[in-house]
Every structure is written in structure tokens, then in C-alpha cells.
Symmetry: D2
Subunit: 504 residues, 4 copies
Amino acid sequence: MTGSPVRPGFANGREKNAGGRPGADPGLQDGATAMFPEIHEECGVFGVLGHPEAANLVYLGLYALQHRGQESAGIASSDGERIIFHKQMGVVADIFSEDILAKLPGNLAIGHVRYSTAGTSELKNAQPFVVDFESGSIAIAHNGNLVNAQRLKNELEVQGSIFQSTMDTEVIIHLIARSRLDRIEDRIVDALSRVRGAYSLVFLTRDKLIGVRDPHGIRPLVFGKIKGGHVLCSETCALDLIEGEVLREVEPGEMIVVDEQGARFSRPFSHVPPRFCIFEHVYFARPDSIFGGSSVYQVRKRLGRQLAEECPADADIVIPVPDSGVPAALGFSEASGIPFEMGLIRNHYVGRTFIEPQQSIRHFGVKIKLNVVRDVVGGKRVVVVDDSIVRGTTGRKIMKMIRDAGAKEVHVRVSSPPTTSPCFYGIDTPLRRDLIGATHTLEEINRYLTSDSLGYMSIEGLHSCVPNEGKGYCDACFTGDYMVPLEVEDTEEQLPLFRGSVRI
Amino acid sequence: MTGSPVRPGFANGREKNAGGRPGADPGLQDGATAMFPEIHEECGVFGVLGHPEAANLVYLGLYALQHRGQESAGIASSDGERIIFHKQMGVVADIFSEDILAKLPGNLAIGHVRYSTAGTSELKNAQPFVVDFESGSIAIAHNGNLVNAQRLKNELEVQGSIFQSTMDTEVIIHLIARSRLDRIEDRIVDALSRVRGAYSLVFLTRDKLIGVRDPHGIRPLVFGKIKGGHVLCSETCALDLIEGEVLREVEPGEMIVVDEQGARFSRPFSHVPPRFCIFEHVYFARPDSIFGGSSVYQVRKRLGRQLAEECPADADIVIPVPDSGVPAALGFSEASGIPFEMGLIRNHYVGRTFIEPQQSIRHFGVKIKLNVVRDVVGGKRVVVVDDSIVRGTTGRKIMKMIRDAGAKEVHVRVSSPPTTSPCFYGIDTPLRRDLIGATHTLEEINRYLTSDSLGYMSIEGLHSCVPNEGKGYCDACFTGDYMVPLEVEDTEEQLPLFRGSVRI
Amino acid sequence: MTGSPVRPGFANGREKNAGGRPGADPGLQDGATAMFPEIHEECGVFGVLGHPEAANLVYLGLYALQHRGQESAGIASSDGERIIFHKQMGVVADIFSEDILAKLPGNLAIGHVRYSTAGTSELKNAQPFVVDFESGSIAIAHNGNLVNAQRLKNELEVQGSIFQSTMDTEVIIHLIARSRLDRIEDRIVDALSRVRGAYSLVFLTRDKLIGVRDPHGIRPLVFGKIKGGHVLCSETCALDLIEGEVLREVEPGEMIVVDEQGARFSRPFSHVPPRFCIFEHVYFARPDSIFGGSSVYQVRKRLGRQLAEECPADADIVIPVPDSGVPAALGFSEASGIPFEMGLIRNHYVGRTFIEPQQSIRHFGVKIKLNVVRDVVGGKRVVVVDDSIVRGTTGRKIMKMIRDAGAKEVHVRVSSPPTTSPCFYGIDTPLRRDLIGATHTLEEINRYLTSDSLGYMSIEGLHSCVPNEGKGYCDACFTGDYMVPLEVEDTEEQLPLFRGSVRI
Amino acid sequence: MTGSPVRPGFANGREKNAGGRPGADPGLQDGATAMFPEIHEECGVFGVLGHPEAANLVYLGLYALQHRGQESAGIASSDGERIIFHKQMGVVADIFSEDILAKLPGNLAIGHVRYSTAGTSELKNAQPFVVDFESGSIAIAHNGNLVNAQRLKNELEVQGSIFQSTMDTEVIIHLIARSRLDRIEDRIVDALSRVRGAYSLVFLTRDKLIGVRDPHGIRPLVFGKIKGGHVLCSETCALDLIEGEVLREVEPGEMIVVDEQGARFSRPFSHVPPRFCIFEHVYFARPDSIFGGSSVYQVRKRLGRQLAEECPADADIVIPVPDSGVPAALGFSEASGIPFEMGLIRNHYVGRTFIEPQQSIRHFGVKIKLNVVRDVVGGKRVVVVDDSIVRGTTGRKIMKMIRDAGAKEVHVRVSSPPTTSPCFYGIDTPLRRDLIGATHTLEEINRYLTSDSLGYMSIEGLHSCVPNEGKGYCDACFTGDYMVPLEVEDTEEQLPLFRGSVRI
């Protein structure tokens, strides 16, 4: 264990790791859940008003946002009188049948997809949340994480509120219900003025679609239109699928209220510097989405080029860890002149119910998703480009596979700086103590991965590749610079989960 | 249409209905949902503390109470730290697998079964309700109906409460959460002192099982024990199945708090006259359950004997409408000397998913459940004994079946008075305007049923057959005598359902 | 262990069993599967031609025959060109949705229900069997059991036939396919002339419905009509439900061919004495069905009266083991003058998936189905009437329940003789060694059951109660008189199951 | 309609199609089922003997072969006495739970995956086929298609065989059962000597695993080992996943018999020239599989390089149609020097139950799977590389998407020759009349696709890229050169499907 976290740069472990003999494991356990990605996006949201098949459009929109969460999904629509909703564990295509969509009438609807992890997977946390309160019914879909939810929850409970989920989103609903203002949009502003953290929200009432993005604009939210109506959604790729048109991103701190009269825009919150999550560019968002005027794909390619500048490698081929590492690897290849190859093949049939048999298949978790093309890497000096290293356990297994396939050298290049700090704004990163970048030096990580050399992107390099030269981004996961102050003492740890009952 | 509702007594329609020609339909429509019984019990509850397999016992207890509700079922257990729960649409045996029961650990647990109707069948109304509030987590299972829930809901919403169901039970939870008292039992008393109506409740906290019965004791609640622990449940038959011992009925207005130290009893509410639902004896409860010291079976037999006294018939055989009419028919046979026969056979394989084919099978609804034994009724003068007539549509179909099988005469005898008033205390009767006993004379009903004669039990006769000579019962469904005042203007109609969103 | 099987008559165990202390267990184990009845009917069949909603009618018909088998069900229909079919494990109402019925077009269809036991439950044995052969496609539904199937199967395999099930029915199909005759009805006769045993069959071809009953007429088959069409089915109760008309029973050895031209009748097999299964009257058939001109209900009542003559009891009440024991108990009550009571209440919600919890609830198996009405049996001398005793394990549990409820004496009366011999003609009785009537004396059985006395019906008494004074019945299960000779050496044991692969 | 099918080469439609205006549609309809790929591999097979968790290994092997068929899957294992099997519609991960795998004991097992199309999807055609016959039980899993199955089926039916599926595989089983030889391996050879066409088969008996490849070796079959045992499977990638070792490909016409004694090899069929399906290299096989000593990935890259030689394009970027087009596009990029980009993003969450909403989203089918990265193609001259064009409908939609995203020019390059002839050896290609390459000239296709130019690989080029310089391949789909003569008159059409009944 080291006192200072790893700094971006180079580790050349060729002597130590020659021949693929793994270094001594510096205190790390192989993760048991390697079947799932190491980082989980919290959620995706989608809302539409003004289209006769609103629920159908939400269905498609959620489908396009499925990468942002595969645990549960839900849609709520309004028929002008009541809000009708359906939500369930699972993926969009499995949850919604024609029958169910037909029961979600109306020309306004919202939806939500939520991420999947084993432990906290509960139906009661599925969204949209739909409640009845003084002014009628309201549905909410939330992407992000509040940092003062626990304190607000305690306050609300003292005042007699009850909680039926362990999601911070429920706090927002309570605050809206307790607001003494009249109009729903005023109540929402009233409520949100008390919460702090990350939120991109879409609300549905009997006759309105409302979108709000937190003052820092941490999580994305896009405003678009489709013939006859308006759309609010997490990423532009959802508009592509339904053949809608992107109008613009919702501004940090902006509220958009859409009803039959059209859309109204306001900036009800005090202005603060924008802090768009830089990790959306690095890993989360779909490459065909556009943020800040640049496609995520192009940003990732620039990251790869920059990485080649910063951490060159003397090698024969560049291969990505698919799918997210592909554009960066293409950029690395372009800048370095080292040929790009798809040396790792991804199996896309991994179902949620896949059983890990009770036998000793080594490195099983990653094998079920990835296989090496032996002919490509055999006898070669290989650069492996990935977007990030979180725990390092998956990376170590990939190294082993590549070496077993006969690679002469394996050089790991990461298109982002070391992940040293947990995210408190809506990304399910592990505790700091499980972040290999927080607890080990570059050399130690290189040894752990059994790579011949290891290179991380610098934070400056990262900034230089994203739109606006990196101004206005949250990069706390790389820097620990939490612009939205936390309310927990030990900021090294994850925000405490709400205590509460468990629905199975 | 008559001004005054039918009075118990006799209608001899032999001249008019001779030969089975149906009388003119006096303004009634055949019900479309005849597959389901005409009356639905709301719910059954079960709780246990002190048994290492608490959830398993609740499972069995709910299974024994399944007749009280087949729409949804749920179990919540406490492992000493958290409350874990599972609830779902369907019947007990289908919802709970070994896997799911294994995930409900702890030595205290409660459960709930809820009735099934097409329209209001929603997962969000399934119980137990489990919420987190200031003092921790709490689960509630409720049998009964509050009469001031809508007003309380309005008040709570004005104070900022949100509602996630359309069940009055949620009002109780909010009142508990808003109580300023400390101990959970005091909060419960505080909350319940504000509600009026029928409630038999079991609560589960981290370490306590609490049972409360409303001051009138409208719905049943039984206290029992099993080796090492205590049980609270709706009927004694649930204790039989788990080989527990009935200790006594929970007193009207009594609260029983069970924890590791044992059971504590209190009577925190002001004393009012008891009003046990007399319809539990007539129809709802299982015949092997015991209330007021008499088995329901014996009460029903007495009803049959009394009915034979009040409304004799000159006939060859007595047949029940199975299964609920069997004991009364036995009693009628005993008192009248007319032989008892099982002239109607019930098919117990009716599933929830049974499809009614698109063809003209007459009287289909009742046929799927009942068939006549032609050899038994052919050429005979038949007395048909049923426990009650609600809409009359099912009865009319049964008459037709019996006549088609060759019965010479059919005399309908009902072991309760005409049902003239809706129930506001937890039984799903139709609106007054759909109660044939409220809108038609005895002669009209007889004509509608196409029976040769029709006889209802008198209210005095009913009283004489139940324990304690009928003192301390609610018989509003027969008399309109609502001892717990309602808060709606038009007491002729059902209590308004909570408005609200709909989960599909 | 005794050399000679028990003879009908009386055992008075009052001294030995006084006070309900069970006698020493004479070598019997409590069955683990007491949740299921001890005897299983093999199957029910239904076919219709000439109705535009043929599959719907079959659905209803199978529903009415559900008591004959709950393991699997299937329907095959012909659209005039092809046979379309669907079959699945489970009960009729769960297997067939509107969607699936809509995919089964045509005006002719057949269906099948099959019994449920844990061990041999396999989809590959579900019926109708549908195969393509030289003349086209054919579907078959079979009730009964062949006694020379194993030999024929061996012969067919030597000739190169393959078997995809372990049902003897597949032998019939192979023989039809290998027949050198032209017309399908001739092929069927050709094939059936080689098999021996019990079969009531309905066949479906592209344009024909064919029914055949074996020369002895062991299993039932009824011919009826519905407007526009003809029906073949196992019991008359199925015609009642669809409002069809019973024409007559198919004669033993008769073939009925129905097509657009109408019905044609033939008796293609050599005449042998009829041997209708007497156990259909005793237990299997629905009481509202009619065989031999008598309703099953009336036969069972006569059995009860005869039983009272043969084995009187000095007692206070007569109670049946519901549901099948009800008519016999009524008859016993009538003849003896001892009042009839429903002292055992049956819970009809037992699902197929019911879990038996891992705890020590005594006599659990039977408790889940039956509960005693304590008020009825307490302090009473009780006659318990059941239709048969097979293993005796369930009976022993029932005795215990009744004694625990405070009965002073319990006298068991069985409305059939001791079951001493396995059935080889289509009823799933246990091996001879598990038939308590085959291995123990009357006194031993009485001691095992812990009853105060035990009385069985005589074979002569049984004969006197069924139609035609018992002539023309198979009563081998009571007498060992197998009129259709077996082809296995050890006739004490069950017919060998076909060896073969297992589909899970 | 043209007299001669299109020849490989160039069509320059720049004048006609400039600006993306589509040419007149030359008689083609947009396919309604564009959600599914245009070509379907029939099947994948996997067998293992000698491993204590045989069924688990088959499960993993099928998982790795899932790309070869997603309609149904099945596993059969032997416990030394009986064959136990399970098969179902759906994908491997959804069909097999731990419970089900636990019921498939033994150290030998085989499995099968089958392709998915809407129309012919029937459970009765799922494999492995398991039957009982003279010598015991046998299971078979088949990849390929027989060309004389219909004639053999007719002959077998005349001899009295019955068919329970519409798969040609059942013919093989019948021939084995009818063989007069003793040993199962001799019976298999006897049977297969009568069939003609494509077959890679694995058989399971009580104690043997047998693999056979047809004399031409049309479909792949690989022999490998795992510690303690042997494996037979369709592709090497399945051995990678289970950490087995590839020993070699099964030779055309070879039989391998594996039992406890080890593996025995024979070549029982007369030698004919090998004809390995060249389309496995072009499209079907996983890129990480190895055939003929070359990884499929490397062959596809060579195809791309060759394509760049034959059909150069003056363009800014090269993009693949993912996933299958990636290696060829990389090769094209390498050879041409035009930068490679991932301009189309594939959504991998397409479930089988995806609903196509009832609205006018243009080009919907392809949109659900693919989206364009606008930043990549906008304003660019784009080369789109795909492996084949079958109907052309999907390609037309892709062109539209790319043009809508602002591409200046779109040049289609296909890494195989025009598909002009249906496959009769196990690939589900459409009828000849639906093959755009068979019915239209190069110019017409270019116009239909709305591309600026269109280039196909030459057959010589294709040959030059696969192992052994293209010798020993079946390329009938490109050439019409059916080396295994067909038995149907109109060789322009698909082989007739077996007539027969339909299981829903």
C-alpha cells in the first residue's frame, strides 16, 4: 500500500514481467462479478409530449439508452386524466410487450432505465416513481445522485414522511409534495433548491412534461423535437432512433416545461460553474451521441491520439478492449502508425441469467465476454487500449488471455488518468479502497496486470481532448476535486446507502 | 322498481313461474363476470413471532386463509436488522417458491392475502405495505376498510404526504410516521385514534409483532401460539394448519404487542359496542373456523334449521349451492326431514386465466363452476339453499340449469335476509343499485330467478343462530344500520375509491 | 405379513386401539407424496368435428375432464390441410390462452389430459401424439393401457422403428403407419387388432374424427352431438359443459368415424365380454357423469347404503372424506339413519407448486388438503366413509386428525372391497407390495389406521350397486381376475415401464 | 429483370445517384423482417466425453456457438444408463438454469443450437433429437442439410416410418434404426451411406460420443480435447471458452468414435473432393475461430485487402457494417490507405421480443440495430464494406442512413461475389428470385442501393484469400456450381420443406 495514489505516466515493467510471469499480487482479490462491467452508469431518462404514440416513443428511446442501465426499466404515461405506469426488473425489450404498451395511452410519457448490480437490485427502486399528492399525480425519472439526500431524508422523516424505496429520488418527491407553492413547476424549483448533487430529471404530470438539469449540469440531458412534439432525453442517440431532431442540450440549471402550448424555458437556480461529467466522454455515453458539439466517438479518438503522444509504445499492433475502447485504439493507431486490429472478440449473447459453472475455468468471468484472436496477437508486441482501469481484476485476466495466445509483449494504454476517487454524482464506482489507481503505484499496477508497460493519460491530456478544452467538467474521479461539497465525513468512501427494507 | 326494499319472507311464484318460464326480467342485466363470486372478502392477515421458520409459517397461514383473497399475496419478515419482503399478484402457492421463502429470514414475519377483482387489480395495492420512516422500517397488513380515509388523505396531502397506492391502509402508515410519540406502539395508537372504520391489523417492526383490532371488532383477528412463539391471524383455521393453538380472539379495540419478552395486552381505545361482521358467519369464513365459541359450520347449520322453520317447503330434496351453502342445506334437511343431496357439483379447477370462449354457451359463467346431477334433480321438487343473493344473476343461471335438468319445482331458500345495503367495512359488495334485494320486491326477485318460491331468513332468525344471540354484530348489509357513521353524503353508494395513478 | 390378502368384512379394533393409541406399524412407511391422491386416473380424451370453434370446444371439454389428469394437456386441430397442435405440462386453464387457441383453427379437433405424478412427468409423453406418415398427418389421444406394448415395441424396434416417448400409445401409431392398408380407418383396425389391453382412443386426421373403444370397453368413451357436429369424449360431464347432447356410450369394440358426411359405425373386432372398469364408478369419474344409464353419484349413494347394510356402525355421525367420498357417506347416512356431517373441510387451493416447508408439522401432507371441523367430531363416535384405501398412509393421517379433534370413536367404512391387485389397464395404482389390502389382514389394517373398527364393502355388494347388477365389469383391482391376460411373468407387479430416454 | 446474373466488378452510379436520390426501385420490396439478419446459419453442435461436468461444458460450448443459431437449444447427456435431455425455444443462457443442468448428469453429453426465423420456429424441430430404438437410446445433433431427404422420407413412410418433426435429421435416425447391422457405429455408417448432402453430426449413446462429417466436409467440425476428455464441436472458439485444446478438424468423410477407451478414427465413406463452405469464412464463423489453419479474422482481412485491389475507391474513410464487416474493412483500409472508422454503431440489446411500434419510422428495421456516427461520415466520401448482399433491402436502408447523416459519397464494397444461387447445404438463404445478385445487374443493384458506386469481390479473389488457395471449397452460392447434385427439379428454388403437422 502506498501513501500517494498513482500519477499518470509510464511504468515499464518489462524486466519484472518478462515472459508473462505475473508479479506478486499486491493485495488484490480477483473480483467475483467480472461478468459485469466494473463501472455502472446509473440511469437513462426519456420523455416526450405531443405524439399520439408517446409510450411507444419512450419505449424506443429507452431501448437506445439501454447501455445506461440494464437492471430495470419503466414507462409512465398520461391519458390526460390519470398517470398509468409499468416498471419491472430486466431489459426494455423483455419488459414491454405490445399488450403492455397498449395499456399506456396518451400523448405524453416518460421512461427510465436503471443499472444492474447483483446486490441492490430491487423492484422497489425501479423508476419512474409515481405518486399521488396534493396537486394530483406525478411521475419522476432521475439520472444522477444527490449528496445531501441522507440529511434531507432524516429531516423529512422527523417531519413524518415515509419512504418506500432506498433511492434519493424519493427525497425530491417528498420535497415537492411538501412545498407550499401552487404550480407544479414552482414546487419543483422549491424542492430542488434544497437538494445538492447531480440530477437530470424528467417529470410527468397529467398534462405536462418537465425537464430539469442540476446547476452544474453534471449528468447529460438533451432537448429535441419530433413532429408535433418535444423530447427530453439523456443522449442524442435516442433522438436518432426515433428520427427526432436534436435542438440543444438542456443548460445546467435550466428547467424546460412542455405542455400543449409549447415549451417554456427558465433558469431558476443560482448560476454556478458547469461541471459536466467527463467520464461520459471517456466511457459511458454511446459513441454516436453528441455532447458539447462533439461526437463522443471523435472525443475518444482524440483521446487515443493524445495517449499515443503521451505514452508511446514500441509495438506491432494496437488492439482495443471492445466495445468501449475501439475509438481510442483507432486514435492511438492513427497517431502512432501502429496498425489497428480487433484482437479481442466480444460475445454479445451474455444474458442476465448466465450461469457460471462450478468448475475451474481460469479467468472465467472475462472469457465469457471476450476471446482473443490468436492469429492476430501471436508473436506480436501488442498495445492494448482501454478507457479506464477501475479494480484491475478484469485487466489482469485480459492480460493473461493475451499472453496465453502467444503475444510477445503487452503494453497497456489507458485513455484516461488513474481512477483514484469514487464518484458521488451518479456513477457506481467502488469504494476508494478498491480503486487500484488509488491504492497502488504505477509500477505496482503494471506488475499486478502483468503487463510489460503501462501508460495512463494525463489529466491535462484528457482536458485537451474534450470540448471546450476541458473547461466546465467534473473530473473528480481522476482528481478528487469534488466541486459539489459532500456531506459525509469520510469522503474516501461511497455515500452511505439509505438504510431500509428490502423487496425481493 | 319498488319504493321499499324487500323484506324477508316468502314469495310463492308457482303460478307465474310454473314450468320454468322465466318472468319478465325486472330491469336486471346478466353480470359479465359471473365466473367470480358475487361477493369478495377483502383480505386475510397472518403474523408470527418466535419461530425460526417464521416466513414458512406465514406461507402456510396465508395458504389456509387463501379463501379470503386470491388477487395478491405478500410476506414480510425481519432478520432483526432489516425487513425483507416479497409480494406479487396471484395465489400463495404460485407466488412463493422455496427460493423466495429462503430469502425471507428471521423469526418474525407477517403476511397478507388480498381479494381479486378485474378492475382494481394492481400490484401497487398488494400488501404488506413496507415503509421506512423516522423510527426504522415497518410493515403493515390490513383487513378492513376505513370510512374516513378520503378526508384523512386529503388532510395528509395538504400537509405534504405522498401516496403510492390507492389503499386506505397507506393513510394509517402516514399517521404513524407523523405521530410525535416515541414508541412504535404509541405511534400506532396515536394514528389509529384518528381513523374510523374496520381494521384488523398486524404490524411488523425490526423486533416486534403487533396486532390491533378496531374498537367495534368488525373484522376478525385471532391470537394463538405455536411452540416458542405467538401468532395473530384472521381465522382459527390458519392455526389448525400449522398445528398452533388458539388462545382467544383479539378483543375489539385491543392491541397485542409481541416481542422476545412475550406478549403485552392493552385496550387503548375508548370502549364502544362490539360489532362483529355477521357475514363472516353467513358466508366469508371457512366452516372449520371458530368465532365466538361456535364453529362457523355449526352456525350455518343452525341457520339452515332456522330457515326450514321460517320458510318451509314442500319438496323432495334439499340441495346446496356448493361449497358455502352446504352446512345450511344440511341444517335445512335436518329440520325439515327432506333428504339432503349434492345435486350441484363444483369444478375446482377454475384458474385465474380461464378463457371464456367466444361462443354462445348459455349461462356460461356458472357452468364453468357448477354442473347439475341430472339423476338427482330430475322429476323432483327441489329446495336450493344458498347463503345469500347479491345481484341475482348467478342465481338465475343456476335455476335455469336445474330446470333444464328436469326438476319439477325449484324452491330457493336463502340462509340470510335480503342484502339491501352495501358494506363500507371491508367487503366488496356492489353498489346499492345493483343489489337485487334493495331494488326489487320478493315477488319480483322470485320472478327474476324463475323459482317456484323464494324464502329469505328473517333478521331475527339470523340473530338467533349466531353466538351471543346476535348481540354485538354488524348487520348493516341486511339492515342499513351503519353503526360506524360514514363520511360520505350519499350513503347509498360505495365509498369513493381513492383517485390516483394506475400501475399495470 | 400374511399369506392371504385381506377379505372384505369387519375388524373391530376397539380394544387394541382404544384411546387412539396407534397400533404397531406393520411394516409400512408414511408416503412422502401424500399431497397427491393415492390413485391417479390416466387420462381423459375429447374430440369434436363440425363446429367452427372446434379447438374452443375441446378446451372446454378438457376443462370438464381435468379431474382425469392434471399433469399435461394438449389440443390438436385440423384446418383441412394440416394438423396444428399445442401441448404442455400443467392444467388446461394455464396452458391455453386466447392467443394459443386462436392458432388452432378448423372445425375438427381433439384433446387430451394426462395424470400427474412426480417421477414420470415428461413433456415427451404429453398427448395428443401427432406424427406424419405415409398417408399424411394423424393425431391420437389415448386413455388406457396396453398389456402387450412392450412385446410389440420390441418387435417394432427390431423392424427399425424409433420411439420418441415412453408411452404405449406410440406403439399404436407405429402399427398404423406400418399397416399396408389404404384407408386410415382400415389401418387403425389393422393396428388395433394386434394390441391387447385397454384403450379408448380418439384420432384426428386432416378431415376425420375417429373414436375406438377396446373390445372389452374397459375405459369409458361417450358419443354425443352439438349443433352441427359430433363429439367423442371420456365422460358425459364434458358434454354438459358445452351444452351438447349425449347420444350413447361408444360400444365395446366399436369404431365411429365422423367426417363431413356424418358418422359411420362399425364393430370391427371380435366380440368378447364387456369389462367396464368398476373403479370409474367407485372413484374416478365425476359424480355428475352417467355410465350405463346411472349417474355415478347415484351408484356411489347406493354403495354407501349397501355399506351400511354390510358393515353397520354404532355411531353418532357419518362424515365423508371429501370430495369423492361424499355420495357414499350420504348413502350410508340414509341407510343407517346416522346423521351426515361435513366433518372434514377440503382446501381447494392446493397448487402444483406448493412447497412442503422443512419443519415438523405432523401429518402435513393431508393437512394441506383437509382440516377437521372440531365442533362436529368432538366427543362423537364418528363413521368416516372413503371410497377406497390404497396404501393406507393417508387414511392413517386422517384418523390422527380426527382423534386429535376429540372424536370418541372412529369407524372407517370403505365403499369398495380391499384393493389387492394392481391395475394394468390404465390406472396408476402402486405395486402389489405397496397395496395394504394385499399385504395385511383386516385386523392389521385397522391397527395401522388406528381406527376403532374397519369395514370394507364385499365384492358382491359392489356388484349389486353398479348398473346391470355388476355384469360386464372389470374388477381385477379387487379380485385379481385379469380378464385380459397379461404378458409379464410376475403379474404381482406393475407392467414394466418402457425403458428409454428422459426429457426434462 | 435481366437474363444473366450480375458479375463481380464495378458499377459507377455516381451520375445517376448523385446527391443520394435513389434510383427507381427495380422491382424490390423492402423486407418486413429487416430486424433479423438476411442469412441464417442453420446450427452449431458440441459434444464432450470424459469430463465429470459434461453438460456444463456443453452449455458453455453452445454459448460460444450461439451465433450459429438463436432459435432453440438443447442438451442431452448420458448417466451411463439413460439419456436425459432438455430442449427449448430461445437462447442458451435463458434455457439452461443451474437446476436444469443439475438434472443432466454424466460425463458425456451433446448439444445443439438452431437458427431463428419467424415462420418455421417449432419446438418439435429443436435438437438434439433423442429416440429409443432397437439398440437403446441415441441422441443426434446435426448441422447441415440433406439433399435427398424428401425422397428418403417418402421411402421410409412407405415402409411404415412415422415422422414427428419436419427436420431432415429425422431421416438419418430412421435409417440408423432400420439398419440391420449390430454396432451403433456400423449402423450410422450404413445409414449415412444412403444420404447425400451436408452433415456434421454428433451422436450420443449410453457410453459413446460419435462425430461424423460428410464426405465433402461441407459444414465444419472440430476435434479437440480437454483434460480427461475429448470434444467435438462446430468451431474452435467453443474450445477456447472451455480452455480445451484444438487437435484438428474432423476430416471430410471421417467418423470419430469416442468412449472410455479413447478415440478411434475411420474414413468409412468413399473419398470425394472436399467442399468446405466458403461462406463460413466470409460471414458465418466467429472471427476468432480457425479453419484450414487460418483464423477467420485473417481471411476476412485478406478479403478486404483483395477487395481494395479489385475495386478501389477514391474516398476519405472506410467504414464496416458491424460486426461481421469489421475485419474486411480493416483489410480494405490497410491496402487502400484510406483511414478506417467505426462509422456505424451497433446496438446489441436487440431482444427476440422487440416490438416494432405501429408508426412510420423510416428504415426502422435497420435503425434498431445500427446508428450512424454523424461526425464521422458527415461531409465525407465513404466506403462501406460489407461481407455480402443478399436481398439488398438492408443495404438500401443503410445507404439512406449514411446519406441522411451527410456523407458526400457512399461507395459500397462487398467482400464476396454476388450471391446468385440459394444454398441447399444448410444455410437459410432466400429463394433465387429474392437474391438481388441473381436477378439484377450490377448497375441496377447500385441504383437500388442508391450508392455512388458498387464493387463486388471476384470469385478468383475470394479463392485467393481463403486457405489452400480456394481449393476444396463449396462456392455454389456465388457460382451455382452444386457439387452435390440436387434431387429437385427446379434447382432455382429452395429445397421443399417437409410437409407435416405444426406444433405451436
